[in-house]
């Protein structure tokens, strides 16, 4: 959540973002987080997290159009603050759709095309993770990837959907 506070600071265009909690945690000293006293006189002290602006955000979307407008179904997790905080936004998407399909329900578009630098159509691009509502987590693939043995990473990369495509 402190990470998101940093992303929000960047998204809001301010140098830091107040965040609830953190009191009593060694993470504050470790990261050099400062506390400020409420300037409006409540007496409360609040931690402030410095802005974090990623050079590039890459998000995976359900649908994208030729302008980069990207629709995400299901929980957006951190896609919203991430795309607003980053200097550049790249999108991968399950499929390309005509713009009027997105315009029919614009509230489902998570990031508008003017913010997106490039997009690629990558079916099953969230593998071995899930993509609501198209496919679920591939637990056997995750477990195979976690094995601490020679060749596990290569086998994982070789079994990715994009590695198995012919085109």
């Amino acid at each position: 959540m402190t990470l998101v506070a940093g992303l929000r600071a960047a998204a809001y265009g301010v140098p830091f973002q107040p965040v609830g909690g953190v009191h009593g945690s060694d993470l504050a000293a470790l990261n050099g987080w400062q506390k400020v006293k409420d300037p409006y006189g409540s007496g409360k002290e609040v931690y402030v997290i410095p802005a974090i602006s990623p050079d590039v955000a890459v998000i995976h979307a359900n649908e994208v159009d030729e302008h980069g407008n990207a629709r995400v179904l299901g929980s957006p997790f951190w896609d919203h603050p991430l795309t607003r905080a980053a200097k550049r936004v790249l999108v991968t998407a399950e499929r390309l759709v005509p713009s009027d399909a997105l315009a029919a329900q614009p509230e489902l578009t998570l990031v508008p095309g003017f913010m997106v630098e490039a997009a690629a159509v990558v079916p099953r691009g969230a593998w071995p993770g899930s993509m609501h509502p198209l496919y679920e987590v591939d637990y056997p693939a995750v477990e195979a990837y976690l094995r601490d043995e020679e060749g596990a990473l290569e086998a994982h990369l070789g079994s990715a959907p994009e590695a198995k495509r012919d085109d």
Binding site: T2, G21, H23, G24, S25, G74, P76, S130
Partner: protein, 241 residues
């Protein structure tokens, strides 16, 4: 009624028993046992509470029980998506009554370590991190944690690192339930399959055991709910005594 607790049932059922009527309860990432506890409470108890989870689910009715507590299967049947930004903000403004937060170590004051074993700069084990615990533990009204290993290296007098401190109220293990009283964890219940002095021997922090009682047996409905959530015993098999 015999006390036939298993390590698995002792943790899940005693976690579920912390949920109170009308509460808004939340389970996060890497928290399969807490997820099962919330789903068990929905099936075994008659009172209403609101279950939120890290997948964005609000009162979900999952068709299958996922291995991961952040699986989007936990949004199935949910009438709303209440995603990461929303539930963290709800917690920060005091709107989460009960939050289940995992830990690697917990100390006698109910502070937790999810960051590192050993020194930060020279770690023996680098842990995955708090995932918001430092924000949630001081701001949630009540926090419950659990450990599948009850030992002097998990329940410690002194943490290697304080990831989160604040409103931790309850610690549940395969053999014990601790509740915070006057700023210290005190023994509330122990699993009657072990002796009380075994709990003391396997706990690294000093604790008050006055008033401690054997845990009440698992009820018929709790047992039925647990079996419905884990019909093949897969989750139970993952918890070793």
């Amino acid at each position: 009624m015999t006390n036939d607790w298993t390590p698995f049932s002792h943790i899940v059922v005693n976690l579920a028993r912390q949920i109170r009527p009308g509460e808004i309860a939340f389970s996060g990432v890497n928290s399969t046992l807490a997820m099962l506890a919330c789903l068990l409470a929905k099936r075994a108890y008659d009172f209403h509470f609101t279950y939120l989870n890290v997948a964005g689910g609000v009162e979900p009715v999952p068709r299958t029980i996922p291995h991961s507590s952040s699986d989007p299967a936990l949004v199935a049947g949910s009438p709303a998506i209440f995603g990461n930004e929303d539930f963290y903000d709800l917690c920060a403004r005091g709107g989460l009554d009960l939050v289940f937060l995992g830990c690697a170590q917990v100390d006698g004051e109910g502070r937790t370590n999810v960051s590192v074993i050993g020194e930060w700069k020279n770690p023996k084990v680098r842990l995955p991190g708090g995932g918001g615990a430092a924000v949630m533990m001081p701001t949630a009204k009540r926090v419950v944690t659990w450990r599948t290993e009850h030992s002097t290296r998990t329940l410690v007098e002194k943490l290697d690192f304080v990831t989160a401190a604040g409103n931790l109220q309850t610690v549940v293990t395969p053999i014990a339930v601790f509740q915070k009283r006057a700023g210290r964890l005190a023994l509330e219940f122990w699993n009657p399959q072990v002796a009380l002095d075994e709990v003391a021997r396997r706990t690294g922090f000093r604790f008050d055991a006055s008033g401690a009682r054997p845990a009440a047996p698992i009820s018929t409905r709790e047992r039925a709910a647990l079996e419905s959530l884990d019909p093949q015993g897969e989750f139970a098999a993952a918890i070793r005594p």
